[in-house]
């Protein structure tokens, strides 16, 4: 990297220009204390833009210097055009070779590369040399996330929304994105349930010609969300159950009938009756739990009673 180390007046640095910003960490208290004690060890990198300088790397160091009321800082100035691939590579490398970038930082880095590379393959080639994912499919996903609203990016950063769910949300109409993201993140559930809730909501909305926002404000959902008692995860279980009944009414009815019959059978904990998955095949199965021959005989006796129960016949037929 060609550079000059210079003393630069802080007011000549455009601290609002975030073109090259990769980091999502805006916390500067710690770095401010360090700079206050021993000064800036590793000078930030700047590129000249007419009378001003644009930050290429060292955003937090410069913010900390401003906080410490420095008038000048030592910086590396580089002789490249103000918006160039060389600057982009420096901005990315300064972060990616020092620590593992989070998803949003990776997305920002990829977004930056898209300004200078024409095809996903070119981006992938450059990215792989900068310690970023070099897989085209991942790069395409990161590019989508880089365009997401900051609210959605923050949900991803705080692990409240998976990238997979965020990518699904990005396919929605603009007006639906944030409300759906807020709804899903509020339930504090893992990736699989997030995805299932998303699919249930969007498919019900599409099938029944109901706007997603209207669906989200239907009574069965708002009642669950506004219930003060249950934990978010219990709310999620309840909402998922209700959405599933709405999306799969006949299957849900069959499952409910089966469980009602099961209750009537009053099965002993040592016997478990398993229905065919989605009632597609006709094969039911029993699990017997025993620890000794005597217990096995006891299971047999209980199983005979279950088999003789007319409810059992009703279940199978």
């Amino acid at each position: 990297m060609q550079c000059k180390i210079e003393e630069i007046e802080l007011k000549k640095i455009d601290i609002n220009d975030n073109y090259y910003k990769i980091t999502t960490n805006d916390e500067i208290d710690e770095i401010s204390r360090s700079i206050h004690e021993i000064g800036i060890i590793n000078p930030p990198v700047l590129v000249q833009d007419k009378q001003k300088f644009i930050i290429v790397s060292g955003f937090r160091r410069i913010q900390a210097a401003v906080k410490n009321n420095f008038s000048h800082i030592q910086a590396k100035t580089i002789p490249y055009p103000k918006k160039s691939i060389e600057c982009a590579k420096i901005a990315i490398s300064d972060n990616s070779f020092q620590r593992k970038l989070n998803l949003i930082e990776q997305a920002s880095a990829i977004k930056l590369l898209t300004f200078f590379a024409a095809t996903p393959k070119e981006i992938a080639d450059i990215a792989s040399k900068l310690n970023l994912p070099g897989n085209i499919s991942i790069i395409e996903k990161l590019a989508i996330i880089s365009r997401s609203d900051k609210i959605i990016q923050d949900f991803i950063l705080s692990d409240q929304l998976s990238m997979t769910t965020a990518l699904l949300i990005e396919k929605l109409k603009e007006k639906h994105k944030i409300p759906i993201a807020r709804f899903i993140q509020s339930l504090h559930v893992g990736l699989n349930i997030q995805r299932e809730l998303f699919i249930l909501l969007t498919e019900i909305s599409f099938r029944e010609n109901i706007d997603l926002l209207e669906l989200l404000t239907e009574k069965f959902i708002t009642d669950c969300l506004n219930d003060d008692n249950p934990e978010p995860k219990q709310k999620a279980v309840q909402i998922r159950k209700l959405l599933r009944i709405r999306r799969f009414p006949e299957l849900s009815k069959a499952e409910s009938n089966f469980f009602n019959c099961m209750k009537k059978l009053k099965l002993d904990p040592s016997i478990k009756l398993n229905p065919p998955k989605d009632f597609e095949s006709t094969t039911y199965s029993f699990n017997l739990f025993f620890n000794s021959y005597e217990e096995l005989l006891e299971c047999q006796r209980k199983l005979d009673t279950v088999i003789e129960n007319p409810v059992m016949k009703k279940i199978i037929e």
Partner: protein
């Protein structure tokens, strides 16, 4: 049919069939030396399915022309044989499995028909009772009148007494059939659906009334007929709509000339769902009450399938109690509840035998060996 370019495999470029075929299409063509390059054009395009329907690749079938129907495990198959004349389809049905079946999806038509007929004659010499169709990997009649293979097939089948040819289509390209000696060894069959499904899900296909008019014309020419309700799609008021279609069938053709009617509810491999979501954004057919079937395909929840089959069977029975109605890829429970018997309880003991028996009756087969 909208094809923008024909690619010709060098291996078939000098065959008279190829020269004749391209002379009738009047579309730019070029000879391909490296097939992979063509496949890459399709695979790397934004929408490979649409691109694959826009290009035609005239090539040779390097494998066998006669194949067993792939069927699936756990469900009863009809034991049909496929005559693999080409692949993919120029029509554009949202539910079409061929969109994900071929990698890449590309319109291909096989020009090495000499090999096809050699294979077929060899099969005929075995005198095995068989039902053979060209409409599984493509529509049987989309390449009319560019190709004369169908005409030659009808004539070839007419000369023997052990096998029937089933031409399955959603087109009305039947012009060539009128001048052929078929000897009732070719069954003309149409895939049917409700007017509403044809309009919303079956792009570039013939209308219901045009299909039924074509069926009536074929009946007048002495051809036996068949109909396939596959895929049956469940939607509000669908039963009434299917009843209307059945009424129309019997307004156009006589029940005595129908060899069979099949019913198959919509089922799809999971990878088809995102294709339909992307290519047919207004289509709601994938949002029915589907479960994962025993073969891994998505199917309507069983009681819903049974309910629709029962209704359609009763509508057909009102017109004709004797027509063989069979279910495509269903299990014994669905058979029993929809039709009142399972294939093994039928006097023929299996679905393939039930169909064979109807082929024997309707198509005058009498010199065969039944396996």
């Amino acid at each position: 049919m909208k094809i923008s370019k024909i690619f010709i495999d060098q291996a078939v470029s000098k065959l008279p069939e190829t020269i004749s075929f391209i002379s009738k299409l009047k579309i730019p063509s070029s000879i391909v030396t490296d097939t992979n390059q063509l496949y890459e054009i399709v695979s790397h395009s934004e929408d490979p399915v649409t691109t694959g329907k826009d290009l035609l690749f005239l090539t040779e079938n390097k494998g066998t022309f006669l194949k067993e129907c792939p069927g699936t495990s756990h469900y009863t198959c009809c034991g049909y044989k496929i005559l693999h004349i080409g692949s993919f389809c120029s029509m554009d049905c949202s539910y079409c499995i061929l969109q994900v079946y071929f990698h890449p999806p590309i319109l291909q038509y096989y020009m090495n028909s000499k090999k096809l007929f050699d294979e077929l004659r060899q099969h005929f010499s075995s005198k095995k009772l068989s039902r053979i169709g060209t409409g599984e990997f493509t529509d049987s009649l989309i390449w009319e009148p560019m190709s004369d293979v169908t005409e030659k097939l009808v004539v070839e089948f007419s000369k023997q007494k052990a096998a029937v040819l089933e031409l399955k289509t959603k087109t009305v390209s039947i012009q060539a059939l009128s001048r052929l000696p078929h000897n009732r060894k070719t069954i003309l069959s149409w895939s049917l659906n409700t007017e509403s499904i044809i309009q919303s899900e079956e792009k570039k296909t013939a209308s219901l009334s045009a299909r039924l008019k074509a069926a009536a014309e074929c009946e007048a020419l002495g051809y036996p007929l068949a109909f396939h309700f596959d895929p049956l799609i469940i939607y509000e008021r669908c039963e009434k709509d299917y009843q209307e279609v059945i009424k129309k069938i019997f307004n156009h053709v006589s029940p005595e000339n129908i060899v069979w009617i099949s019913l198959g509810s919509f089922r799809f491999i999971p990878s088809l769902k995102p294709i339909i979501q992307k290519r047919f954004q207004q289509s709601k057919i994938i949002y029915g009450e589907f479960i994962t079937g025993l073969d891994g395909k998505m199917r309507y929840f069983k009681p819903l399938r049974i309910q629709l089959y029962q209704k359609i069977v009763s509508y057909i029975r009102n017109f004709s109690p004797d027509i063989l109605v069979y279910l495509c890829m269903e299990d014994d429970e669905v058979w029993k509840k929809s039709l009142g018997f399972t294939p093994s309880e039928h006097e023929c003991k299996s679905l393939p035998r039930m169909l064979d028996q109807k082929a024997i009756q309707h198509c005058n087969l009498y010199d065969y060996i039944q396996e």
